[in-house]
């Protein structure tokens, strides 16, 4: 198997991982707030950070990705910054938070994805800071020592108190079971997708076990074992808690380690869609390309010009004898040109059919 280390990507990934370690060390007040029970998760998370950054950097080095990445930031920072920042914010809420682009593909599909994504992202938002020791909970010292007082619990971020809530309150119940709610969302979403993948003929033909089914099975496994932890201490007096905690830890660590390599990397890639929107929006203002065959506008001139550069970087050269390019033609124009060339060849062959 061919393997080559991308030194630039490895360097950036190491720097970011080390930065994460340093922030965690000081964020947990020199490990004072770090929960040793989460040590395995910590190493899994750090590996995931390294892997994701490494792959992201390798990905950005590909000519088309690099072009989009550069252009997006150039367009954002060359004037009209606040307009683009607003677009970025609205688009992020619409397409990243609510995944609106999936809705036209199917309402049930959107609902499933929304539940799955919300469950996963909320779980990330809770567990990653907990694992890295950035968040911790402490019993409020003042109320703890007073037998008559309602016990208060403090939530601390980087060791600084950010909020308090009463033990036994509805809010405490919701906060302490936050991962339970995430689990139910993940299970509901993943099961809908799994049923779809097992019954849709088109998906059955084109999917792979490791690429499409295993990620769903793994997410369900994580969510079920996570719920098992809660179930064990809430209803089973702690029976099988060790088994549940070990199986849950193994599945979560597998998930973390797999993020950079498999289907889960699309979570990291998705914001690029917003870049593509800004690219299109700004390109329109600069002017549209007109197809020499159809005489109609078909994309932005910026897009055509950039594609000429990118295709050359990739080893393709569609330059024509007159200095123009095959890429100057619209998709419809290209199809017509092919048909015309075919007609010409047939005419020269002496018969239209053969």
């Amino acid at each position: 198997m061919y393997f080559s280390l991308n030194k630039k990507a490895a360097f950036i990934a190491i720097v970011v991982t080390l930065f994460c370690v340093i922030v965690s060390f000081y964020g947990s007040r020199k490990l004072q707030n770090f929960d040793p029970a989460l040590i395995a998760y910590l190493f899994g998370t750090l590996f995931a950070v390294f892997g994701v950054i490494y792959r992201y950097c390798v990905w950005l080095q590909r000519p088309p990705t690099r072009m989009y990445f550069r252009r997006t930031w150039q367009l954002i920072f060359t004037g009209r910054f606040f307009v683009h920042a607003y677009t970025l914010l609205i688009d992020s809420i619409k397409n990243l938070l609510f995944q609106h682009f999936i809705y036209p593909r199917g309402k049930k599909r959107w609902l499933a994805h929304f539940m799955l994504a919300t469950g996963c992202l909320a779980a990330f938002a809770i567990t990653i800071p907990l694992t890295l020791g950035w968040i911790n909970f402490t019993l409020d010292p003042a109320t703890a020592l007073d037998p008559g007082a309602i016990k208060l619990y403090n939530a601390n971020f980087f060791g600084f108190k950010v909020m308090s809530f009463e033990l036994g309150s509805v809010l405490a119940f919701l906060i302490f079971h936050a991962l339970t709610w995430c689990s139910w969302l993940v299970i509901a979403g993943a099961v809908i997708f799994l049923v779809r993948r097992l019954t849709n003929a088109g998906l059955i033909a084109s999917q792979t076990f490791e690429g499409d089914l295993l990620p769903l099975i793994l997410l369900i496994f994580i969510a079920v074992t996570g719920l098992g932890l809660n179930f064990s201490y809430a209803f089973m007096k702690g029976i099988a808690y060790d088994f549940m905690s070990v199986t849950h830890a193994i599945s979560v660590i597998l998930f973390l380690v797999w993020i950079p390599f498999g289907k889960f990397f699309h979570i990291i890639q998705r914001p690029a869609q917003i870049g593509a929107h800004i690219y299109k929006q700004e390109g329109k203002k600069k002017g549209m390309a007109v197809c020499p065959h159809t005489g109609k506008e078909f994309t932005t001139q910026l897009h055509v010009d950039d594609l000429k550069i990118v295709t050359k970087q990739l080893g393709f050269d569609f330059t024509l004898e007159d200095g123009t390019s095959h890429l100057d033609y619209s998709p419809e124009g290209k199809r017509s040109l092919l048909a015309k060339a075919h007609l010409k060849a047939r005419q020269e062959g002496g018969t239209f059919f053969g």
Binding site: R335, S336, A341, H342, L343, G354
Partner: protein
């Protein structure tokens, strides 16, 4: 995709001079399960102002697919049979690079889905040893899916060609175009 009955001796042969513009292929294409019931085949007038000639275009499944290379999201892949698959829905960011870079004008940006879709040679059917939908309904056999022996029997005065010249660029494909006998390539520009 892992276990298939894909018949490697079967090939796609296109002869656009035979296209009568009936659009039966469009209707049939929409039956393809892997397209999610969206028609991916193209039937369009070549030059409506001067001729009623139509042309038909399926994905040519390039040996070195430009669409996959220009994809910034690594959403397009080619399998071991040489079939270039439609965009991976999880990855595609709807940038249209593939749509504009394809020399045959094949991929379609479905604006409503913010995603690219393209012909994948009816993979639900071809992977089960069946013919693509469009080729099964084409009444003039502008689209034909079968063996080389079959096509040479049917079209003794034609040669299947899979090399195309676009200016400086030569593109070779899995799908063939029927050309006058003895042809080796089709020069577009």
């Amino acid at each position: 995709m892992e276990v298939t009955s894909y018949k490697t001796d079967m090939e796609f042969f296109v002869d656009m001079q035979r296209c009568i513009g009936c659009k039966a292929c469009e209707m049939a294409c929409a039956e393809c399960e892997t397209n999610g019931h969206e028609s991916m085949i193209h039937v369009n007038y070549v030059e409506r102002a001067v001729t009623i000639q139509t042309t038909v275009q399926v994905c040519m499944h390039c040996d070195d697919p430009v669409c996959a290379k220009v994809c910034p999201a690594d959403a397009i892949s080619k399998d071991d049979f040489g079939v270039v698959h439609t965009a991976n829905t999880a990855r595609c960011i709807g940038c249209s690079n593939c749509v504009m870079a394809c020399p045959f004008g094949v991929p379609i940006k479905e604006e409503k889905y913010d995603m690219m879709m393209k012909c994948n040679m009816c993979y639900d059917r071809t992977s089960a040893g069946k013919k693509p939908m469009c080729a099964t309904v084409c009444p003039s056999q502008a689209l034909f899916y079968g063996t080389r022996e079959e096509i040479s029997r049917m079209r003794p005065n034609s040669t299947p060609v899979n090399t195309f010249i676009f200016g400086q660029q030569e593109v070779t494909t899995k799908v063939n175009i029927m050309m006058p006998k003895g042809s080796t390539h089709l020069k577009i520009h």
